[in-house]
């Protein structure tokens, strides 16, 4: 942390907050940088580069540099500094955008990620990488800007305009003039309260026709509610075309005249002279000589009169349509441009927890309401209560949905990273791969997105390494030389599906079975019984790999089994299908949010529990005849495998009262087969109630020490149920079996 604070407690807290702001702002900048670079990369392959994009990239790095310096992130500041230099050359046309530069830029983005992690204390300082990148950036050579510099003088641009252009804007102006386009002056008035949207409209309409150089606010025509802007735009279009494009927006457009073509009255400021000349044609050299850049002398210079004010009367602007609206929006005009807030996701978790709490309170109220309604004398009161409760329900649902919505982020966030990875891997691998993304806007829980990048990245590596054939092979079989990986995301009900589909060589069932047998993962007898789907699922077994030597790319000790486990942790499932010679498709099905889970309601000894559906493989009717007893452990022989089972009633000591009835033949007990990773366990329950989506609520303090429950929920029937923590139960039961989980019956009865 740099020396930023002052000492008082309040100061420290706000510095700490500023630092948090810094980390998330830096992260956003890096994400934006990554997005822009990918676009730029595409463009540069077609020999283009959008100056706006280059500008955005520069600005992002420039801001990062300022921020990291401000917050004492030394390495990040150093990287940003070098990067900024290179980008400055790039945007000012002194450096050409080629593969080498692009590579360095991409590496810088990766490095920023590592540096940010280190800043957050989640990773080591990537010292080596920093040095390597700095070296690479230092080696970039740039060419000087060629071409005549004085073409600005050909145009009748007020010195008051030229004087306020930043170095970059001036460069863009020169570049545009050099390429022979026309300059236009657009005058427009906006209401301050609606300027953001109005300006976006204008930008969008103008964009296809050229480049906006600058927005100059003008005092004339601006007041408390409106702002008059003079926009300088470079365009290859004729003025009529431009007028037509910007029609509907209340503005005036006029071409900036070339000197010589018309009459020029004012003296032309020399464009490459000292900046003071550009800004202040009227000031003489004696004034200018006062600017040594010496801070000590600055006091004497303050404040200068505006030189151009008198010389160039501001243009009169026709009243814009926005002016009326401005009056109406008087109160809005003080609002900040930014309408977004950043929220720590834990705060949303807390809110969701409160919603869960409310749902339980509602359940209790509901029971009370029912009791009131059942009292003959109190019936009208009961009905009143019931109506109130319905309103309460509705708002509770709205609140829940509202919070869920806030947690949602577009999958595009992780897809962008993947695009980078694909680019890199295919290059390392000397394969050409086109990643086609659809549904990047599909939204999913923020926490899920965070956990998705590793599994997806691994799938990408697999697809490129094992799936896509080499150029020659593809050519031989008549496929396009460039391979394609399609990354599709879409929502289906309460789930989000992500498909990764490659057009590579596919997987042969025979090879898969053969490999699995060779590695001892299945016996030849078992293999004979496998369905086609089972065969593809073999790749999810730990230790499965079809290549004998792991390559640098895929064989990093992480197999598809880890992908499957990671996805399962998120409550998702992975499916795979393949066709030899056509390609492979892997589908991930994920819940939209982690705050709501699907559960299977079960009944044990008259009490109900919920089992997270993500852990449930299937439910079967218990055939007591198939139960075997090994050393006091019960197990079920099922389809040739042995499945340990656990009678929940016994585990929870609930077998006494109601249990006796339900064990009779009228309702046959069921086995819910639950699995976490490769460990499976059958829970014996009396009855299945059905499937439901629930908001899970963390257990209160009194139950915190109790193992075996993930939380509590309310199933819509006004009864609170405990949600089984399947992973903990499997662990407990398989490890010590007989040992009772420390659960008191009272806790369950509640």
């Amino acid at each position: 942390m740099s020396d930023t604070g002052g000492g008082s407690g309040k100061g420290d807290a706000s510095v700490e907050k500023a630092r948090e702001d810094f980390l998330s702002e830096a992260q956003e900048l890096v994400d934006g940088l990554s997005r822009d670079l990918l676009l730029l990369d595409q463009q540069s392959r077609h020999g283009e580069s959008d100056p706006d994009l280059v500008k955005d990239v520069f600005r992002a790095v420039h801001t990062l540099k300022g921020l990291s310096g401000l917050f004492g992130a030394v390495r990040m500041a150093a990287v940003s500094h070098e990067l900024e230099e290179a980008l400055d050359d790039l945007r000012l046309g002194r450096l050409e955008l080629g593969v080498r530069v692009m590579d360095l830029l991409f590496r810088a983005v990766e490095l920023y990620g590592l540096l940010l992690l280190a800043e957050k204390g989640h990773g080591p300082e990537p010292t080596k990488d920093v040095e390597a990148l700095l070296l690479g950036l230092g080696q970039l050579t740039h060419q000087g800007e060629q071409g005549p510099q004085n073409q600005l003088a050909q145009y009748e641009i007020d010195s008051s305009v030229l004087g306020v252009l930043t170095e970059y804007e001036e460069h863009r102006l020169r570049t545009n003039i050099k390429s022979g386009v026309s300059l236009y002056r657009i005058r427009v008035q906006f209401s301050l309260s609606t300027i953001d949207t109005a300006l976006d409209e204008l930008k969008a309409a103008a964009r296809p026709h050229g480049e906006i150089i600058t927005y100059l606010p003008s005092d004339a025509g601006s007041d408390a509610d409106t702002i008059a802007l003079e926009i300088l735009m470079a365009s290859h279009a004729e003025v009529e075309t431009l007028r037509a494009a910007l029609t509907g927006l209340s503005l005036t457009i006029e071409p900036v005249k070339r000197r010589g073509a018309g009459r020029s009255s004012a003296p032309v400021p020399p464009p490459k002279g000292p900046p003071s000349r550009l800004a202040l044609g009227e000031l003489d050299d004696a004034d200018v000589a006062q600017w040594p850049g010496d801070p000590a002398r600055q006091d004497a210079l303050a404040p200068l009169p505006s030189p151009a004010a008198g010389a160039n009367p501001p243009p009169t602007v026709p009243p814009a349509a926005g002016a009326d609206a401005a009056g109406a929006n008087r109160d809005l005009s003080l609002r900040s441009v930014s309408q977004t807030v950043r929220v720590d996701i834990r705060k949303l978790d807390n809110l969701m927890n409160v919603v869960g709490e409310l749902a339980m309170a509602r359940a209790a109220l509901g029971r009370l309401t029912d009791r009131v309604r059942s009292q003959p004398g109190l019936r009208p009161l009961g009905i009143e209560l019931h109506r109130l409760q319905r309103t309460f329900d509705r708002h509770l649902t709205q609140m829940q949905n509202g919070i869920l919505e806030v947690r949602m982020v577009p999958l595009g966030q992780v897809f962008e990273k993947l695009a980078r990875v694909v680019r890199q891997i295919s290059r390392e691998n000397d394969k050409e791969v086109n990643l086609v993304i659809t549904g990047a806007e599909t939204e999913i829980d923020k926490l899920i997105v965070e956990e998705l990048s590793d599994p997806l990245m691994h799938m990408m590596r697999n697809a490129i390494d094992h799936g896509i054939e080499s150029r020659d092979e593809r050519h031989l079989v008549g496929k396009p030389v460039v391979g394609t990986i399609a990354l599709n995301a879409f929502q289906k009900g309460n789930h989000v599906l992500i498909e990764v589909e490659d057009d590579g060589m596919g997987m042969s069932p025979a090879v898969l079975v053969d490999t699995a047998i060779r590695r001892g993962l299945v016996s030849p007898a078992e293999a004979a019984d496998l369905s086609p789907r089972d065969i593809y699922n073999l790749v999810f077994l730990p230790g499965f790999t079809t290549k004998d030597t792991a390559t640098d790319l895929s064989g990093r000790g992480v197999g598809m089994d880890v992908v499957k486990t990671n996805i399962a942790k998120l409550g998702g499932v992975v499916d795979i299908s393949s066709e030899v010679g056509i390609g492979t498709k892997i589908t991930i099905t994920l819940p939209i949010t982690l705050a709501i889970i699907s559960v299977l309601g079960v009944e044990v000894a008259g009490r109900s529990f919920a089992v997270p559906l993500a852990n449930v493989e299937e439910a079967i009717v218990l055939d007591e005849a198939l139960v075997r007893n090994f050393d006091g452990r019960e197990a079920l022989t099922q389809r040739g495998t042995t499945l340990p089972i656990c009678r929940l009633a016994r585990l929870f000591d609930l077998s006494a009262e109601a249990g006796a009835d339900t064990r009779r033949r009228d309702t046959r007990a069921c086995v819910v087969i639950a699995a976490v990773g490769n460990r499976r366990l059958g829970f014996v329950v009396d009855r299945l109630i059905g499937q439901q989506d629930i908001v899970i609520k963390a257990l209160g303090k009194s139950l915190k020490g109790v193992k075996g429950f993930a939380g509590a929920t309310e199933l819509g029937d006004q009864r609170v149920r405990l949600v089984l923590d399947v992973a903990a139960l499997i662990e407990e039961v398989l490890a010590t079996d007989k040992e009772r989980i420390g659960l008191k019956e009272g806790a369950v009865a509640r």
Partner: protein, 138 residues
């Protein structure tokens, strides 16, 4: 209470400037400092007509209206033509700083700035003889 308008499109830069300027050790001797944040040129345009400020601190490189344009606008406006103004800039943009000073900025702070550097400049501008429109009545 002295009012400082900070114009910068980086939220954390605004936040750190606020922390530095509102810190008791700096603010108390001045009778308190209130930092008003504007998230860029346009946002500043919204704040300018509404209030009076003792000092305006602005970034130069901003996406919409750049800092130079903002300074020119401020110096032309009746209300703020005399408000002390300081620009924040990186060393690499000397030419832009020069222009800012020519356009009427009173001082500049190089980014990244330390608490001392920012306080020194803002403190000096606050101490300068009060300008045109009094701001003691918010």
């Amino acid at each position: 209470m002295r009012r400082v308008l900070v114009v910068d499109d980086s939220a954390s830069t605004r936040a750190i400037a606020r922390a530095m300027l509102e810190d008791e050790s700096f603010a108390a001797p001045l009778g308190g400092v209130e930092v008003i944040e504007a998230a860029g040129g346009f946002d500043a345009m919204r704040f300018l007509p509404r209030g009076a400020y003792d000092v305006i601190v602005t970034d130069i490189n901003m996406g919409d209206i750049n800092g130079l344009e903002l300074i020119q606008f401020i110096r032309k406006s009746d209300r703020h033509r005399e408000t002390p103004l300081c620009v924040i800039s990186t060393q690499s943009t000397e030419r832009d700083v020069e222009r800012a000073l020519l356009l009427g900025a009173n001082d500049f702070v190089a980014k990244p700035f330390t608490a001392e550097a920012l306080r020194e400049v803002v403190g000096r501008l606050l101490a300068a003889p009060a300008s045109g429109e009094g701001t003691r009545s918010p």
